[in-house]
Point group: C2
Chain length 197, copies 2
């Protein structure tokens, strides 16, 4: 549709997740027509980010050093480990400011359909971390979907032999949500997990 390079830029943006052809076009034109948009900065960042970012050797979170900012922080409680699927989940939990322990990023969830088994996840690394007896509780914070639940139950079976408390994040109605619009599974979970007031 467009002359060479404009179309190439649109196509390249279209390869990013969540960006369809229309959005890609809108972004490409924004870049073309907005002199204040710093193309050089974004261009440099793209290359730099790949060069500089690694994954924390302990927890697997994103880091610019060998260990991530959370694992380096002496104020975090090393007796508590929260297991998540992805580094993005670390950021989501950090935003709540509720959790002061450490993390362990699995790098995915068990999914026979996608061909992801326990060996493809950072489970051996988790077991190594738990070996020295410092950790008292492991919170399984994998996603509340099929793959996440499978991963959580796999891990909880693996951890029963150890003297560690294993917990799972509560499922239930989202705060601010409407009971009427909750799906049956969520609603029955909310019943199962009801608290006495």
């Amino acid at each position: 549709m467009y002359d060479g390079i404009v179309q190439e830029l649109i196509d390249e943006f279209g390869r990013l997740p969540g960006i369809g052809p229309k959005s890609a076009q809108r972004i490409a034109f924004h870049i073309l027509q907005t002199p204040s948009f710093d193309v050089k900065r974004l261009s440099e960042l793209l290359v730099e980010v790949r060069e500089r970012v690694r994954f924390c050797e302990i927890c697997g979170n994103v880091a610019e050093q060998e260990r991530c900012a959370i694992c380096r922080d002496p104020r975090r409680n090393p007796a508590l480990i929260c297991v998540v699927e992805d580094a993005k989940d670390v950021a989501a939990i950090e935003r709540t400011r509720e959790f002061r322990g450490l993390y362990h990023v699995l790098g995915g969830a068990i999914s026979p359909i996608a061909g992801v088994g326990p060996d493809d996840l950072r489970i051996t690394q988790l077991m190594t971390r738990l070996a020295d007896g410092t950790v008292q509780e492991v919170i399984l914070a994998t996603n509340p979907n099929l793959e996440g639940e499978a991963t959580a139950s796999y891990l909880s079976r693996l951890l029963t032999s150890m003297e560690i408390t294993v917990s799972r994040l509560a499922s239930g109605l989202p705060v601010g949500g409407d009971l009427e619009y909750a799906d049956e599974v969520t609603l029955s979970r909310a019943f199962e997990g009801r608290r006495v007031l």
Copy 2:
């Protein structure tokens, strides 16, 4: 939330139109975690696109030469000019394969609120193009909203003195749409523009 450069990349993507903080995060992680994504290519394209792309000296469409591919094409009918607000509109109309004339990109629409007056648009250039008498019809294809309508009526007043047919794209029900969900203005336009069968 993230260590330095990852957050910088997220922020930079968040500056693009239609990309919120969550999408920006998702894109940044995709770039980090997908080795097959060619960061170097996107990085180079960003800088190159600004260097290489200019706007057609005749119609204002995007071009890599002095004239755009449409203005250079001898098969296009020079007696017909379709006036649009933006270069993206040229691509939208080209996709229909209905129009074989030339274009004129105004670079926006008259909007007193946004402080855009007729002098901020490529109207003088349009009048110059019309001066030699080649053009027989001008199709006003500005957007069917307040600004687009204002621009269309400004242009149609400007062109009344010339021996040129001035037309406007039809307003009405979108094809495949549902009458029930059409807004009143669109529905009354559909009545006004009804065709005898």
